[in-house]
Symmetry: C2
Subunit: 343 residues, 2 copies
DNA sequence: ACACGCGTTGTGAACGTTCACAAGGATTGT
DNA sequence: ACAATCCTTGTGAACGTTCACAACGCGTGT
């Protein structure tokens, strides 16, 4: 088997600065100046270089640049469950903001619940030499792991009310939960349950806190929240259990999907929402306006969250200051809540 | 202002191969051999190097490696609408598979509908020197743009039945649509509408084709499909329009969200699903089992799709062969379909 | 006319890794 | 005991960019 040289010699590496420089009749440094558009370059020269770049279809080599500057221009996103609407919308917004600022984004998601999975995910991001880290929908466990690694990075956590030494940004979950709860109380409900999220999710905890705070503030008796897993499936089965004892007239679910499952279970039991039981969700995913009945819920502006997150991170990349901010949620009243039927 | 040297000299770049080599008393090349675990290295030496790496917390510099090998070990994902369940699930699976293979993933999403947005997104990926590209939920426009750029990359397109020169992989959309349509016909429906997806989405087109194919095969009259935008919102308004003339007993919606909107509109009109009108969706998103009524739909295994996609791409990175495969969808019958009421 | 300064351009080293190759030591066969 | 061979390790260049600095040319003030 004759190992002849490749038919049409395709050994071509991509064109480099030197190629551009040669074509434009300048030095590589001048090309570099054009690329990073530094001042003190004659307009004519600049144009000549730009033309050459165009002609050769030149693209700066990111790796070489990263090597010498030791800046990767990449930020990492650590996220659990990116198939949920909320995190997905935030990631979207972060990515948009990042690319507008010349950064790129890599994501790593935590698959299981074991702590090794978390470490591996963080490790993968670190391998990319990320300059900043965004943690979305964080669980306690993630925080602990992160704290134990003591990274030298600006970190922004989303949807976390926990004040640590990182920057954090969130929709005010406690307020949101209070709004939802207050709405039910104002309608006249006296026995309200809470279907909460998974225990170690900081978001879930905050919503639970908001619920309990508001109930206490209004001197209402509370029962222990049920801990769910965010899925409609869980909401459905939790609903079936709850309906065995009908000592409540309203449920505040920690997210829209669980609320959906609840409503399913309630109908299955031959009851009606909101006539027999009122339901409030949390998130306002696009579908909830079309659930049956349309869901009363708490709206979070995920996109805004993502944008501000990126601004914060990019700011922090230079200044290194700490900061934490929050965005206000709003209550969206639709068809799943009403005054309790008098019986 | 005395510019004294930094308090605790923190000029520390990260440790490099040379640092490790010095500590272990070997050459940098030996360290390199350990990292890439090449054969022909004494076990004892290897151990010594590994210890030094551990001690210094050494991490290989990805940029330097990429520079010299001109391999970025990164694949790009080009996606529209990543907040939808389907694409999000696929991305998730791709990322998992990629990271298991030592690759990392960057995503770019197409924000608007203008072609410049597409070019910019691709450009951003190219800047990253991606070695392969996955196009998810592709629109015609994206394909055309991509074709016009004639990239030297393995490209895998997901959910596209269009045979071009790239590799492609999809759940068989046409079959899925036929299954859905046949189900309605077998139930006895004679007048069936199709609420399709956006015109230039290849997926939408395939589902429409499947619908028409099956209708024709069974000698059923067809009306022109309505072109939607995948959202529940659109499904709702389309439903309101359609219900003005009640000359149909079933609708096949091109995805679950639009089906949700349709059902909402039908209820608003005082009718019932499936008693008055049957509805079939497409995708089987996790929520649809809990819609009211639970939605009959076509299930696609997005995760499997993502996994196989990555296998294909990684294979193609070496071999460069073309390939296209498809995965079979299944019909999931739930509560939103029934025989038409005789009237 | 001369020095000075400023705007523009060029030179060479450095970043941290891999690659091609060479060199050294131990082992084997005769 | 000597050459041939294999296994292990080291040497130096190269990748494509930025950085620090040097050099050149031209105008300006005296």
């Amino acid at each position: 088997m004759a190992q002849e040289p490749e038919p049409v010699a395709k050994k071509s590496r991509a064109p480099s600065m030197h190629d551009v420089a040669r074509l434009a009749g300048v030095s590589h440094q001048t090309v570099s100046r054009v690329i990073n558009d530094l001042p003190n370059i004659r307009e004519e020269t600049k144009q000549r270089v730009l033309d050459s770049m165009e002609q050769l279809q030149y693209r700066p080599n990111r790796a070489a640049r990263a090597l010498v500057t030791s800046r990767s221009r990449t930020v990492g996103i650590l996220s659990a469950s990116r198939t949920n609407y909320g995190p997905a919308a935030s990631i979207q917004a972060i990515e948009d903001a990042a690319s507008a600022a010349g950064y790129s984004v890599t994501t790593a998601s935590i698959s299981g619940y074991e702590s090794t999975s978390i470490v591996r995910a963080i490790d993968r991001l670190l391998d990319q030499a990320i300059e900043g880290l965004v943690v979305i929908a964080p669980q306690r466990r993630v925080f602990d792991t992160l704290a134990g690694m003591s990274l030298r990075l600006p970190i922004v956590t989303l949807q976390s009310t926990a004040a640590n030494n990182d920057m954090s940004l969130s929709v005010d979950q406690i307020l949101g939960a209070r709004l939802a709860t207050r709405h039910l109380i104002e309608l006249g409900h006296r026995s309200i349950y809470h279907l909460a999220g998974p225990q170690d999710w900081i978001e879930a905890e905050a919503r639970m806190t908001g619920f309990l705070d508001e109930m206490n503030a209004q001197d209402m008796p509370t029962t222990a929240p049920i801990l769910g897993d965010w899925t409609a499936e869980f909401g459905y089965f939790a609903g079936r259990e709850l309906l065995r004892m009908r000592d409540f007239t309203a449920i505040f679910a920690a997210n829209d999907q669980m609320a959906l499952g609840l409503m399913h279970a309630i109908r299955d039991a031959g009851l009606e929402v909101p006539r027999d039981i009122s339901i409030v969700g949390f998130d306002d995913i696009p579908d909830s306006a079309h659930f049956w009945p349309p869901l009363t819920t708490v709206r979070q502006d995920f996109a805004e969250l993502g944008r501000r997150c990126m601004a914060l991170l990019l700011g922090g990349l230079e200044s290194g200051e700490e900061y934490s901010g929050s965005i206000l949620p709003t209550l969206v009243v639709r068809g799943s809540t009403a005054a309790p039927s008098s019986r």
